[in-house]
Amino acid sequence: MAERVVVTGIGIISALGRGKNAHIGPMRRSQGGIHAITHLRSVHAPEFVLGEINMSNDDLAKLIGLPTGDNGYTRTTLLSLAAMSELLNDVDISLLREEPFAFINANTVGGMSKMEDIYMDVLAPGTRPENIKYIDTLDCAESTENVRRHYGLKPLMATISTACSSSSNSLMLGARMIKSGMVKRAVCGGSDALSRFTLNGFYSLKNVDKKPCKPFDQNRGGLNIGEAAGFCLLESEPAAIARGAKIIAVLTGYANTNDAYHPTAPSPNGDGAYLTMKQALEMASLQPGDIGYINAHGTATINNDLAEGRAIQKLFGTQPPPFSSTKPFTGHTLAAAGIIEAIFSMWAMEQQMVIPNLNFETQMEELDISPAPSLIENVLINHVLSNSFGFGGSNVSLVFSKP
């Protein structure tokens, strides 16, 4: 049953906007989406820049055709629905209603963006009636359930939470389910909305840069948090061909390993990242030299970029393929990072371009390699590697190839 798994649909919303053109244009023009906070109500709002999506919850509700105001939908669910509606521009929903499929979502804090605002009221006697409907929205599966319900679907469902590698794991699980014959197709992805909980959590780790982040730079100061949602439709290649679907890319390799080193920091010599990338390449039967572009995890934290940089250098040598982190465009979108960066990787391959690593100035003293600081066009890319490394040592690498 070892058919190839292909990508035949994409839906995405991030700080850059919705859909392909909203992303590729700014990437070509080196215009990042990190900006001052407009929607998130935090005392730190004047201090930080984030990858915030320029739509209020009401804007998102109107987009999806839901009532505005206190509608019982958290921002996380609204973003997931927005990304799903984008995907359904490419894919006829009847395909998902008529045949069994898997729906694999990912999240790190569920509906926290709403709950943190109403928690004390929810806890106290005499909770306001308008808050009662949000009580069961804190967990990670609430957006999965809401998307399913909104579109009237009955898939095999799963929600994954492995910190920053979550939605890369969604893609990997979807592919494995298809290869085993469990399902013919899978909608895979993830979402995370900005919340004070997450912003303050990362701030307490002193991992956050108050200016736009500088991945792989000697003077990097940490990450910028972002929010996003993305889904891909994965299918077995024969199923895609049978229905005449346009194949965007082939998911030829994937690997999930664990650093087994520390709760939040990767092993500094990059052993974990190295192992994951190597396994993904082996699965795809590729050599390091076959990779045309690496979309790095590149959070711009001291630890990640050191570990990942060392791992890239160890695996690919001192003349690696061009690599970049796209987090200066979108921020670190946590559970959504894996899926949106996989999407960027596929678009880079399709457009034969290397997306620039914005804000890069100075090579890290520990490394002999640097990311691509500006756009490179007309690059031959047949295979692309996308990395996502998270807390708890969770590492996932994906390899996509030209169809």
Binding site: A141, T162, F197, N200, G201, S204, D259, A260, P263, G393
Partner: protein
């Protein structure tokens, strides 16, 4: 998918004496306030003083149950760690959120934030066993444990030399969690003593519990007494869909409902799900023993872990304890 999952070892920390199996139901632990909290074992057995000082209950509990499960199986480093939890470490999440509100987002402790990530137990067990292999966390409510088992089946059916996988599920109860869920009628309005839960099947609501349940599974039967053959997850089924799915799962194993000796059933005393439970039980043969367990464990998303542990216990001892 037909790869049976042989249960090599099972470890449960629960409101009952399950960690030390010899004293299970000796005595049966009860609660009158609808909140069954776990009996804490000695967490220092597996966790060093340096590590334990910062850990919340849920983290200690998950790590200890997982490590004991591996020890009981004679496995030092598993070939994968796959865990499910619907709510993660609720205490850590509550602490960080309330601190953030109280301190107006200033001077916040990172420890609670780090430990509130849903895969923190996974990460710790990986560190302690030096397991760099496949590591996954499922967070889909009542399917969380089942997804971890399904993934284990999938993994063992893929090419490779994986043999012993650590799977499990855990969820935590806190007094705040209870207060909040009461407001959406999750629990009984008139709370019965826990042993009497199922005598109150005519009213809505259930009682609360918590637990951590780990299973070392393998494709090699070894000395296993119990294997999982099929896992089916149904989304808001009708009674007919449940009966059909049950019949389907049994027929895949060339069995009929009359062949079933024991039905371990997660009935929780909530009248709103009787439309599912009653036909299921009525469909069983007169000779089938119906075993309930939520009067012992309480209700929570991964409570089926208690049911699975109990199933393994019954197979091991060839005996259904009265409860």
């Amino acid at each position: 998918m037909t790869q049976p999952l042989y249960i090599i070892s099972a470890c449960t920390i629960s409101p009952q004496h399950t960690y030390d199996e010899e004293h299970f139901l000796d005595p049966a632990m009860t609660a009158d306030d609808g909140q069954l909290y776990v009996i804490d074992p000695d967490y220092t057995r597996y966790i060093s003083p340096v590590a334990i000082r910062r850990m919340s209950r849920m983290l200690k509990r998950g790590i200890t149950a997982g490590m004991k499960c591996l020890e009981d199986a004679g496995v030092t480093t598993p070939d994968a760690i796959i865990i499910g939890t619907a709510r993660g470490s609720v205490t850590d999440m509550e602490n960080f959120m309330k601190d953030m509100i109280k301190m107006e987002e200033q001077a916040l402790n990172p420890t609670s934030f780090i430990q509130s990530t849903y895969n923190s137990v996974n990460g710790w067990i990986a560190m302690m066993t030096k397991c760099t292999a496949y590591n996954q966390t499922y967070v889909h409510r009542g399917f969380s444990l089942e997804l971890s088992l399904l993934d284990a089946q999938l993994l063992l059916s893929e090419p490779g030399d994986k043999k012993y996988l650590l799977t499990g599920g855990f969820d935590e109860l806190t007094s705040e969690y209870f207060i909040i869920r009461e407001k959406i009628d999750y629990y009984k309005k008139d709370i019965p003593p826990s042993p009497e839960l199922l005598a109150h099947y005519d009213t809505p609501g259930t009682i609360a519990g918590e637990g951590a349940h780990f299973f070392t599974v393998s494709n090699d039967p070894g000395k296993a007494v119990c294997a999982i053959h099929n896992i089916a997850m149904l989304q808001q089924p009708s009674a007919k869909e449940l009966l059909d799915a049950t019949a389907d799962v049994l027929s895949q194993n060339r069995l009929k409902i009359e062949d079933i000796d024991i039905l371990v059933c997660g009935m929780n005393g909530d009248s709103r799900n009787r439309f599912l439970i009653d036909p299921l039980i009525a469909n069983c043969a007169a000779s089938t023993t119906i075993v309930s367990f939520k009067q012992l464990s309480g209700e929570y998303d991964t409570a089926s872990g208690f049911g699975l542990w109990l199933t393994n216990y019954i197979c091991k001892h060839n005996y259904v304890p009265p409860a």
